[in-house]
Symmetry: C2
Subunit: 196 residues, 2 copies
């Protein structure tokens, strides 16, 4: 069943809204049209290209939002965050992140992106990793853009713990998963002690 | 019960042989004597000081020994290795490895040292991390020397897997533990394909 142009453009809007990181190539293959058609659709709808969409979200300032560490200590770039709820970062795999021999990203860089996002999402001045279970599902290659999402799964106020699930994807395919148990100084909803 | 000098010196030799990273301060406290006494004992026994002992092991060349990655890709310095059996590395925590705010070492650097040692110990041209469970037991601080030991715990030749336990210590106190499940291209004892 061929979609009308109007239907396709509506679907395009919805898809990009749900996943701002989708490429024109992925959209073309999903809708069974050419990449050129997608580009024309985007122009008609005034949707910027992927690179611009990413720059746009990335340029938003999270410096005052993240509590647990300075933003420049986050590995990857935070593009969305809701403290104690969820966070997203992107990380571009460059030469210095891969094994020289095979161009596969080294595990500790994926771990670093996930771990620092788990720290960043916590609404506390101090957050330390206690435990972590991680799985490397697919090799990540030089040039890949890793999109990592952290989701706060649970909380144990008496033990000062926050439990976070992290999933990293490349082109919507899961490459890495991690569970992080984090220590924090105060529970969610507890008041900050203010120093007057 | 006070030991004779001869007994103490014998014990000193044994202790340093078992743990070349023990400091004079630790030995003094262990034997209930002054640091000066330990230094004199070492001189009489011609045992170099800790710094020299470490330099000595570190200067040995493992370049031809490690198969799975070039030595400069190992995080930390390998000071002992027996392929498919065990390996030891040391890692000095410097400013670039700690959180600016509190001087605590960032988790991914400890992970990186452990993970790259788990890669290095494997006697194969390719070794990739599949899974990893890690625990951060004590904060590691700026200036700490982390001694990490990897021990090959098991092997599954059909699945091309090697299981490795890693323990990191600072001043003989455990700071980090990890289990690593590694993928390799061939099982232990299987022949390398030689290209003639």
């Amino acid at each position: 069943m061929k979609r009308t142009k109007k239907e396709r453009q509506q679907l395009l809007c919805d898809t990009i809204e749900q996943n701002p990181f989708v490429t024109d190539e992925q959209l073309a293959s999903q809708f069974g049209v050419s990449v050129q058609t997608i580009r024309l659709d985007r122009m008609e709808l005034s949707i910027p290209e992927l690179r611009e969409r990413i720059k746009d979200v990335a340029s938003r300032n999270y410096e005052n939002e993240v509590k647990s560490l300075p933003l420049d200590e986050v590995i990857g770039e935070i593009i969305d965050i809701e403290l104690d709820q969820r966070a997203i970062s992107i990380f571009d795999v460059r030469t210095e992140h891969v094994f020289q021999r095979n161009g596969i990203a080294r595990g500790h860089h994926l771990f670093a992106q996930a771990n620092s996002l788990a720290v960043a999402v916590i609404n506390d001045e101090l957050a330390l990793t206690v435990k972590s279970n991680v799985v490397f599902l697919k090799p990540v290659k030089l040039g890949d853009r890793v999109v990592t999402k952290a989701l706060v799964r649970g909380q144990h106020n008496e033990k000062n713990r926050t439990y976070i699930d992290v999933v990293s994807t490349v082109n919507n395919s899961t490459v890495f998963k991690g569970e992080f148990e984090m220590y924090r100084t105060k529970g969610v909803g507890e008041e900050n002690e203010t120093s007057n």
